[in-house]
Symmetry: C2
Subunit: 156 residues, 2 copies
C-alpha cells in the first residue's frame, strides 16, 4: 500500500551514489550496479529514464557512463518518481480522461482525496536530492508546529 517501487529505490540509490562523487564525475552502470548489487539490465532502464528526463547526463563512449546533470538540490524526490514511474496519482481517477471510474458520478470523496494528494506531492517536491543524501535534519522550516520529523511514526 502506497509503496515506492523498486525502480525508484534503484534510482535514488544511483543518484545518491553519483552525488557522493566529485562533481561531474562520470560513472558507468557496472560500477553502480556493483556498489548496490542491482541487476545491470534493470538499472540501465532506470538510468536511461533519468537521463531522458534531464536529471542525468549520459556519455556513450568508452570510459563513458552517467553524470549528474543538475545540482542535487535542484532535483526533488518527486522529479525522480515522475521520471521513473510516471506521474504520482493517489486516485485512479486523477489520470482524468483515461478510463473513467465507475463511481465517479456519485463520488463525494474525490475532492478531499485530491487535497491529500496535493499535500503528498508538495511533500515530495519539497525534498531535494541534496537533503536526501546529506540527511539534512529539517526541510528548512517550511513545516512547523507539531509535525513529526523523527522519521518514526508516533502511532500505535
Amino acid at each position: 500500500m502506497l509503496k515506492l517501487t523498486k525502480k525508484v529505490d534503484y534510482a535514488l540509490l544511483a543518484l545518491s551514489f553519483l552525488s557522493q562523487q566529485e562533481t561531474g564525475k562520470v560513472v558507468n552502470i557496472w560500477e553502480i550496479s556493483e556498489a548496490y548489487q542491482i541487476p545491470t539490465e534493470i538499472l540501465a532502464k532506470v538510468l536511461q529514464r533519468l537521463s531522458k528526463k534531464g536529471i542525468l547526463q549520459s556519455h556513450h563512449a568508452p570510459k563513458g557512463g552517467y553524470s549528474l546533470k543538475k545540482s542535487s538540490k535542484d532535483v526533488s524526490i518527486l522529479d525522480v518518481i515522475n521520471a521513473i514511474d510516471g506521474p504520482v496519482a493517489i486516485l485512479s481517477c486523477s489520470d482524468s480522461h483515461d478510463k473513467t471510474c465507475q463511481q465517479i458520478d456519485n463520488c463525494d470523496i474525490r475532492s478531499p482525496l485530491e487535497k491529500i494528494q496535493g499535500k503528498i506531492m508538495w511533500l515530495l517536491e519539497e525534498m531535494s536530492l541534496e537533503e536526501f543524501t546529506h540527511s539534512v535534519p529539517t526541510t528548512g522550516g517550511v513545516l512547523h508546529g507539531s509535525i513529526n520529523l523523527s522519521g518514526q511514526p508516533r502511532y500505535h
Copy 2:
C-alpha cells in the same frame, strides 16, 4: 505509483455514505452497493474488515447491516487504510524482519525515506473522516505557511 487501492476507495465511499445518515442508522451492504455501483461481494469483504477493526458495528439479522461505531471525527484516513490494506509502508524494507532487501547493507537512503514515510503517515492520520466527508477547508491550522491546500497540484 503511490496509488490508493480500489478497496480503500470503496471503504471511504461506504463510510462517507454512512456518515451522511442519521447517527446510528443501520444500513445493509446492498444499499451501499446500490448507491455507488460497487460489486456487493467485494464491498462485503471491505466492510467486514472495517468492522473487525472496530470502525463499523455489524448487526447480523434480518433488517441488520452496518452502522458507524465511532464518531466520524475519531476515524482517520490512516485508520481506514490500515484496516483495509494493512500497514502503510513506502519502503519495501519497513516490513522489517520480513524478507530483507538486497540493498539493505549498502543502503544510504533508508533514513531519509523513513522520514518521508513518517510525514505521509502523519498527514493521513491528521485527516479524520469528518473533515473528509464534510469538506472542511483546512486541517485546523496544523499546516501553515505556503502549503498548497487547493487540492490542485501546482507543479508542471
